[in-house]
Symmetry: C2
């Protein structure tokens, strides 16, 4: 997928309402919390628990979820390497728009390729992209198998399944590593929220 | 572009934070204000003026703009009929996500085809899609020609230019018609805001 802009005769216009106005109105900063990890590692569960906590704190939040977005924006994409890349590219662009709108946008996708996550990071303003490596051993993910997908993948019913028949490239320098096979969801949520305070996305103390 | 979902092995999950929770927190409803009209009709100008007014009222707003989104999400698309359709399809999906996040999402695209706008309407929950026909005569748009595009199109330098060498299909039953060649931007803004009150997107009185 070319990164070149195909359109001609377009000009960049900036709206009268600026990004910083939104942060001021919201009382918190905007960011992308990019959860990455194997199927079953707990990305969606954790993203939902973090969202709930942030929402109860009065934050503006939204989750882009792998399973959900494929019914809409990316319904034309499958699971080939090219389609996975385009899938993540579009999600990165939408997350960026959500972030620009003042939202703390949580994305919960396997997003197995380093290059694709890097591309999403690169289009996002400096410091706004927070990669959360949701770490869990393959054995534990397969034991959990919440959607029965590993079983199907082992039976050869799902081609190119991450961790079984397709690679997962773990982050090399993620902002955060949460280990869902060693800590409870509650502990992982606290870890994420503490990091958001430290980074100034959330105001300190309350 | 097929509307069929290509992915298998996906399930729809709903986040713990519901759409209605967001509306309650925000103090206003969510909606898509879909501005459609010729180039130069004033869609972006009007969208920005409406956004500014809503933002000052404390609303959560965001503009998806034709010129801007083509640098990001839709940078792989051109201006052929197929690409225009895919352009609007993706924008409709993003607007829906923004709306689901509790935002009043304003879209400012020529969006010349009835079928494409209808598709965007159909994926949006009932009553949340507000089509704003930004009406202005071709003569007046061409006289304004803010980006010099009509001049180029007349000179044959831009193929498939809406109104000149490509069709614009006017809305048949838009929620709103604003006439920018008969009324000031301020008057048009008031018209949109009054409609949002009437529809209950905005609380009555202030």
């Amino acid at each position: 997928m070319s990164r070149e802009i195909k359109s001609q005769n377009i000009t960049y216009t900036e709206g009268a309402v600026k990004h910083e106005h939104r942060a001021e109105q919201n009382g918190h900063g905007a960011a992308i919390l990019w959860f990455t990890g194997l199927s079953g590692a707990g990305k969606s569960t954790l993203a939902q628990a973090v969202e709930q906590k942030l929402f109860l704190m009065g934050c503006h939040t939204y989750i882009l979820d792998g399973d959900n977005i494929r019914f809409g924006l990316n319904r034309d994409l499958g699971f080939s390497p090219e389609d996975r890349t385009e899938n993540i590219r579009r999600i990165g662009e939408v997350a960026k728009l959500m972030m620009d709108a003042g939202t703390i946008c949580l994305t919960a996708f396997i997003s197995p390729y380093i290059a694709d996550r890097q591309a999403a990071r690169e289009i996002t303003p400096e410091g706004k992209f927070i990669e959360v490596y949701t770490k869990c051993s393959l054995e534990e993910c397969e034991r959990r198998d919440p959607k029965g997908l590993y079983k199907k993948a082992r039976a050869g019913e799902i081609p190119q399944f991450t961790g079984i028949s397709a690679p997962y490239e773990a982050p090399e320098n993620p902002e955060l590593v949460v280990e869902t096979d060693k800590h409870s969801i509650g502990e992982c949520v606290d870890q994420v929220v503490a990091y958001l305070r430290e980074r100034g996305v959330l105001p300190n103390g309350d």
